[in-house]
């Protein structure tokens, strides 16, 4: 058999490890300043846990295996579900809100030979037990996180699944149509969306609303446009909330990086309100993503609202330079004077890293190198 890393995984070495750890530290420093407490959960969960969490599970994307009892296990696909499970079970008497952070590998099977990784590190936070009041805190933390990455150009894009959701409930007859519309809008698949809406014979105002949704992205002017196409007070409410968040960010001096996309509709059965995604120059997909998921914890027996986000540090490795290595001391010594050399090293290590090199000369030499 050929010996190599399994499909979709890789070894990380040298500069890449240094870059990743340095990014991770920058992000975790932000999380600490927001008083998020780090947790670690098992690398695998019962399949049942994920099955309970999602109404439509990406079954094939899960790495599954059996335990000795015959139960199905799965490598964790994300960190939000394990933390929701943890919060629902173990923190029942803890004062709310709960603030958890994490940085762990997550696993999803991607298409072969497409250049995508099956194992990536998710570094993020969950704020559990606060309703919409918590949105501002999580947005501030997300902006600070993007800032901490020190990228040349970045944006944090906000949306709210209810803008689509409430409108869709009013016009679509069934869940299936709603899901189809959400998928087409999320992929900005304009051609098929138009065909689909025609086929459903919506009234012109509603059809125009859904045709406009995929294009509702950009700066704060998007919210004005959204108000024009809104056809129900319940939709205006969603815009009010986004406007409110935007002006709060404006007052805090962080609105410059904020944009909107009301046509972003990832996982409509999972997110229940605000959603957001961070983009940086040079990376072809979002590097930060998150949102409000108020119905997840109730599936684990504890009805608590929650909001969170995570960063995919692996996507950023090509965008950053490794920090300069610190200087180190090199001690060259002959084999027969090892104890003497290690005594010197013991002292030198207090100040910094020491590299030991055996050589065939008689003397012990200490030198600085980079």
């Amino acid at each position: 058999m050929e010996i190599r890393t399994p499909q979709g995984t890789r070894d990380l070495t040298g500069q890449d490890v240094i870059k990743k750890r340095s990014l991770e530290k920058k992000v975790q420093d932000v999380f600490e300043r927001y008083c998020f407490e780090e947790v670690m959960t098992p690398a695998f969960e019962y399949y049942q846990t994920y099955n309970a969490a999602f109404s439509s599970l990406e079954d094939r994307a899960m790495v599954k295996f059996f335990d000795e009892m015959g139960d199905i296990l799965t490598l964790r696909m994300d960190m939000t579900v394990p933390i929701a499970r943890l919060a629902a079970q173990q923190f029942q008497n803890a004062p709310l809100p709960l603030r958890f952070s994490y940085s762990s590998s997550v696993y999803k099977v991607k298409k072969s030979f497409a250049g995508k990784m099956n194992e990536v590190t998710d570094t993020g936070v969950e704020l559990i037990g606060l309703n919409e009041i918590g949105d501002l805190e999580i947005l501030c933390c997300a902006v600070d996180t993007l800032k901490a990455l020190e990228m040349e150009d970045y944006t944090l894009e906000l949306g709210d699944v209810n803008f689509f959701g409430r409108a869709a409930k009013k016009v679509f007859a069934n869940e299936e149509d709603m899901e189809r519309a959400a998928d087409l809008i999320d992929r900005k698949s304009m051609v098929e969306l138009e065909e689909f809406l025609q086929e459903k014979q919506l009234d012109p105002k509603a059809a125009a609303f859904f045709m406009e949704l995929p294009l509702l992205n950009g700066g704060a002017e998007v919210l004005k446009k959204a108000r024009q196409i809104s056809f129900d007070p319940s939709l205006d409410e969603v815009i009010d909330r986004l406007e409110h968040l935007y002006s709060a960010m404006e007052e805090l001096g962080d609105s410059e990086v904020i944009t909107f996309d009301l046509g972003a509709l990832p996982h409509i059965h999972y997110y229940t309100g605000l959603i957001f995604a961070g983009f940086v120059k040079g990376v072809g997909s979002s590097v930060l993503s998150g949102g409000r998921y108020d119905s997840l914890l109730s599936r684990f027996g504890r009805d608590l609202p929650a909001v969170g986000f995570s960063v995919k540090l692996d996507y950023l490795l090509d965008q950053v330079q490794a920090p300069k290595k610190t200087t180190r001391t090199r001690i060259l010594y002959p084999e027969n004077r090892a104890v003497e050399a290690f005594a010197a090293a013991k002292e030198a290590r207090v100040k910094g890293p020491v590299e030991m090199v055996v050589w065939d000369r008689e003397e012990i030499v200490e030198e600085n190198c980079i």
């Binding site: 992929r187 304009m190 051609v191 995929p214 983009f279 072809g284 997909s285």
Partner: protein
């Protein structure tokens, strides 16, 4: 910020370039291509690359190209992690189901075998009809496979139907209509919105002019 656009080589290439030229894009480098693979626009801050259709999706999904022009047939068969934002209404043809006249695909008792270059499209089509069929991937001329008894029918692309007719095959159903589409990388639409919308707008204008011309 400069844009990089992936153009699918061959049939769609010329048609897309003509549409871009209408809005003053400088496509000379692409027209007179020598060995260069990355071809700068002579009028705008844009680079073109000429790629095979499947690669067009790959380059755009990874953000190596911001936009791409590719046939709907390729999009239907491949993955979908991009925004599909415009129908160029050119390079039009159809996905069809065809068979020999004596074949009776929808009521034969034995398991139906289908030859195709597009196994995902074929699988989805039959799944929609709630039929469990065996799909056999063919790489060369698919029309051959029912003639020599390998399969009962084929799912393939046809523009005029003449190749099918020449081989004695009849069209049983239209699976989907196909035309050239503009796809956009998800992050590019966010980070280079103005530039991307400009190209989309120019192309949309060309689509409308083409429609009036017909």
């Amino acid at each position: 910020m400069s844009l990089r656009i992936a153009l699918t080589k061959g049939r769609l290439e010329d048609k897309t370039l003509t549409m871009l030229e209408k809005s003053g894009y400088g496509t000379e480098n692409v027209r007179s291509k020598g060995r260069a693979l990355v071809l700068p626009d002579t009028a705008k801050d844009i680079e073109y690359v000429l790629v095979k259709s499947n690669d067009c999706i790959t380059y755009v999904e990874h953000g190596a190209c911001d936009m791409g022009v590719v046939g709907k047939d390729t999009l239907m068969e491949g993955s979908s992690d991009y925004f599909e934002m415009l129908d160029l209404k050119t390079g039009e043809c159809d996905f069809i189901l065809a068979a020999l006249p004596e074949a009776d695909l929808f009521s034969q008792n034995s398991r139906v075998r289908i030859g195709t270059k597009y196994p995902n499209v074929a699988r989805e089509y039959f799944a929609r009809r709630n039929m469990d069929v065996e799909i056999i991937k063919i790489d060369g001329s698919v029309e051959l496979s029912p003639l020599i008894g390998l399969v009962d029918g084929i799912v393939d692309i046809t523009e005029t139907g003449s190749t099918l007719k020449a081989n004695g095959l009849v069209i049983l159903d239209y699976v989907a209509h196909i035309s050239a589409r503009v796809i956009v990388n998800k992050a590019s639409l966010k980070m280079k919105k103005q530039e991307v919308m400009q190209v989309l707008g120019d192309l949309r204008k060309a689509v409308m002019e083409n429609a009036e011309g017909n």
